[in-house]
Amino acid sequence: MTTTAAGPGLTRVEGPAKVTGNAVYAYEQDAAQPLHLRGVGATIARGRVRAVHTDAAAAVPGVVAVLTPDTAPRLGGEAGAEQSVLQSAVVHHRGQYVAAVLAETPEAAREAADAVVVDYDAEPATTAFDPDSAEAYTPEVVVAFPPDTSTGDPDAAFDAAAVRVEATYTTPIEFHHPMEPHTTVARWDGEHVTLFEASQSVWDARRQIAALFGIGDDGVTVVSPHVGGGFGTKGTLHAGSVLTALAARAVPGRSVKLALSRREMTDTTGYRPATVQRLRLGAGTDGRLVSVSHDVVESGARMAEFGEPTAVISRHLYAAEHRRTSHRVVPLDLSTPTYMRAPGEAPGSFGAESAMDELAVALGIDPVELRIRNEPDADPDTGRPFSSRNLVACLRRGADRFGWAGRDPRPRTRLVDGWWHGTGVAAAFFPSFAMPGSAAGIRYDAGAPGGAPGRYRVDIAAADIGQGARTVLTLVAAEALGVPASQVDLNLGDTGLPHATMAGGSAGTASWATAIVEAADRFRDKWGTDPDDGSEADGVAGHNPAMAEYAMGAHGAHFVEVAVHADTGEIRVPRMLGVFAAGRILNPLTARSQFLGGMVWGLSMALHEEGVVDPGRGHVVNHDLAGYHVAANADVGDIDAEWVEEDDPHVNPVGAKGIGEIGIVGVAAAVANAAHHATGVRVRSLPITLEHFLGD
């Protein structure tokens, strides 16, 4: 493959269908005479269901069935606590489904669900996150990584360091809130179930449903042609999806539909846990780090373990002889956290890159220069060489374009029309993964003799969750086959297509493209450049042996300007620039959207997003989009993203690193750092709200 991205890129191949309303999402799939499902959520945080009174609900006209822990079908297979829906009387968290109504109309289902009365035996619950809790424990893993690492003697080195920064940073619970809610349409035909599911991986969903119901994978079809955002929350099946499949089991041959409300999404589809991060940085007067400690306590769930890899960024970003990272989890009587866009690096970069700014201030060294001075020669964690790393190039390019040179480092010195202005920088890192096991099939359709050029059908059960997979994979296939993109038809989102791994971990494109390139190479080897009608080939993405030899990751640098109102403390971000190094950019048009979208997400995390848990009742109080603020258009000012050329021959056959998450990482720290530069106030907790700046 060549390594030059050509032209501005390809517009989304499904764009016309989406803007004309013809793209059919899971909930809109054609289903004859569907039944509508409505769940009933627990109103206690911990305990047991004593009784469910269903008479009034069953009497609502149009109600077909009321399911309770006593009457719901049994799953029949293996299920963890979250997916074990209506299988026992145990209540693990508020909002957990304790009953559900099937009815002929959504209105009847809703009315009947409201009429269900549940009696509980409540038990004492702990729902407020106390980082000093005696229940804190070391999780088995933080996602795929060990919870603790230590090199040298970080405490002694810190104590002996010429310049030290020690500070604690906190981040709250945050929610994914994709535009499209979680939706499922399920129908059983004998021992076979078909799911239309808003999913980041149809094959993973198939395997989970098969395991839950104790049937073979062949007994499950999952279809997910268009997905309106996932961000991790559609990576695994949550209770609503299982509930839908379970309810459909009770009415064989009929489709059952469920679309979650925002409140149900808040209660049952996961979130990013809260973190408390203690950073200790020790450096020489030259700014070179000698000791880095990043010790994290984060919120978790008693019902199932999830460890956010918050401190993992500190294993890779800067060189230091003495280093430590650790993670402790405090189990709470809340639903289970899950992967959320840039798990670990998003919250962890707030602590790590805020602390670097504090160190720059303490040293009197420019924060861009400080980062450059601490650039490692090899991955600090493993000692492996980087397959490619251009953080310094990102910092230099960004500084140049942002106009960083000559920045007056003194805080609280630029008051313009009643607003304090300041600028800030932060670095970004996200590991580049690829998952083995995706498969692609290619078939050539020659068309009519003398007619239009033949077409290549490329099949792979990948997921387009709005990131542009359909478009990028079309380009990848076209390039690998040596034909124009207009001759490629890319099919995805269906378990009837060859196996594909998840759209997650910023690994989707790399994993799927590896399979497509393999299939294309085999196609040309087998059939040459003038294939017969019906010629076929397939390819499977194997394990990349280079992953054991190199450290692989995308990098970036964020530069932001912040304005804080001198009287009211309101904080605005009039200017944002992100510069990224993420291997080969396959499709500049959609890549730019990915980067900008990530940056807006980071801005939203910096200024707005906070899931508020009621300490007494254990529910998330702001369980809708009026209460849970995400950035509005008016919050986004002048924003731009660009990337530096990066040729990485090791990362995968297309040379592309994932770009779905790197755009978020570091934004909140850059905003906090700029707010400090503007006002002299160091905000160490997210979100950064106006009261921090109101003075005394």
Binding site: E111, D114, G418, H608, V612, D614, H619, V621, A632, A634
Partner: protein, 338 residues
């Protein structure tokens, strides 16, 4: 949602008769708040009496030089009206600071006044709420109180805030609310329409069941032409006020305050006319120090709630900052407030 009946009377008198005769009936206008409450089960009227189409949508000059705004006038149209924009710029600005374009296109003047608090516990039937049922007690006092009241609520009383921006401007301008009831017409001062919570927070206003707002009258007010609305919130748009200020200011050539109007939003169960701050300023200097002192006089005795989920003590200095910024800008630039 509970099933309900729907009627569409021919005129206001019939509508009033229909609602007055049925304790379970409620008026429906733009529906931007009530329909949400129907879905959530917060409101369960037996009958909806639709008054869209029978209320005046006109904005007409009054004999004394003021304006009469029909209760059916849409928020969008009031905000865009040239007479409103020139004579009462803070009212136009307040409307535009609220909701979204789509909601303003639906929401009416009367409905805007009668919208209910956005306290999340009020909208959540699974959480106790003293406004829904005075016997239940208040969840916000031990929970999420970031958006809640610092003024006008006694110990243990409801700390919900009234969410309207428009109503804050009306309170500043001594507007009068025209009401049609079973016993005929009456007018209520805008500052008296909404109640403090007291022992019965379930009642937002002094209106009796069946009474229908038919118009809002703005008396002529020379000072209102130099007015502004400043809304401080947690994001740049599409959020309710943490604190808002509707203010008008007339400063004499000698630098003293000749006339001033101040009303606050986001701080109380009702739009809060800052009479103490006004009195402190009248006849005194138009300086930052005086503005801050006046705001402090208004919040003297404010009661904040401090909880682990987020309290509201920051609103006390925020009132001072917002009042000061608004009055300073009015003193310098008239109606252009940054």
């Amino acid at each position: 949602m509970k099933p309900f009946a729907y009627t569409r009377p021919a005129d206001a008198a019939s509508a009033v008769a229909a609602v007055a005769a049925d304790p379970s009936a409620a008026y429906l206008a733009g529906g931007t708040n009530l329909v949400d409450h129907l879905k959530l089960g917060v409101a369960e009227p037996g009958t909806l009496v639709d008054v869209t189409g029978l209320l005046s949508t006109a904005i007409t000059p009054t004999d004394d030089g003021g304006l009469l705004i029909g209760a059916g006038a849409r928020n969008t149209d009031v905000a865009a009206d040239p007479r409103v924009r020139s004579a009462f710029p803070a009212l136009s600005a307040a409307l535009l600071a609220g909701a979204s374009g789509q909601l303003r296109n639906m929401a009416t003047t009367g409905g805007n006044l009668l919208q209910r608090t956005r306290c999340s516990y009020f909208a959540d039937l699974t959480a106790p709420c003293t406004k829904r049922d005075p016997g239940q007690g208040c969840s916000a006092r031990t929970g999420w109180a970031r958006h809640h009241a610092i003024l006008g609520a006694g110990e243990g009383e409801c700390i919900a805030t009234h969410p309207s921006d428009m109503a804050v401007a009306l309170a500043a301008f001594d507007a009068r609310v025209h009401v049609l009831g079973p016993a005929g017409e009456r007018t209520v001062a805008a500052t008296e329409l909404h109640r403090l919570p007291g022992a019965d927070p379930s009642r937002d206003t002094v209106l009796e069941h069946g009474e229908l707002i038919t118009a809002v009258e703005l008396p002529a007010s020379p000072v209102a032409a130099r007015s502004a609305y400043r809304k401080v919130r947690d994001r740049a748009s599409y959020a309710f006020a943490l604190v808002s200020v509707a203010a008008a200011l007339d400063v004499g050539a000698d630098g003293t305050v000749r006339d001033v109007r101040i009303a606050l939003g986001g701080v109380a169960h009702r739009p809060w006319r800052a009479t103490r701050a006004e009195a402190a300023l009248r006849g005194g200097p138009a300086t930052d120090e005086a503005f801050r002192a006046a705001a402090a006089a208004e919040t003297d005795g404010a009661r904040a709630v401090d909880t682990v989920a987020g309290g509201n003590a920051f609103k006390i200095p925020l009132v001072a900052g917002t009042v000061t910024a608004t009055l300073r800008a009015l003193a310098a630039h008239g109606t252009e407030v940054a």
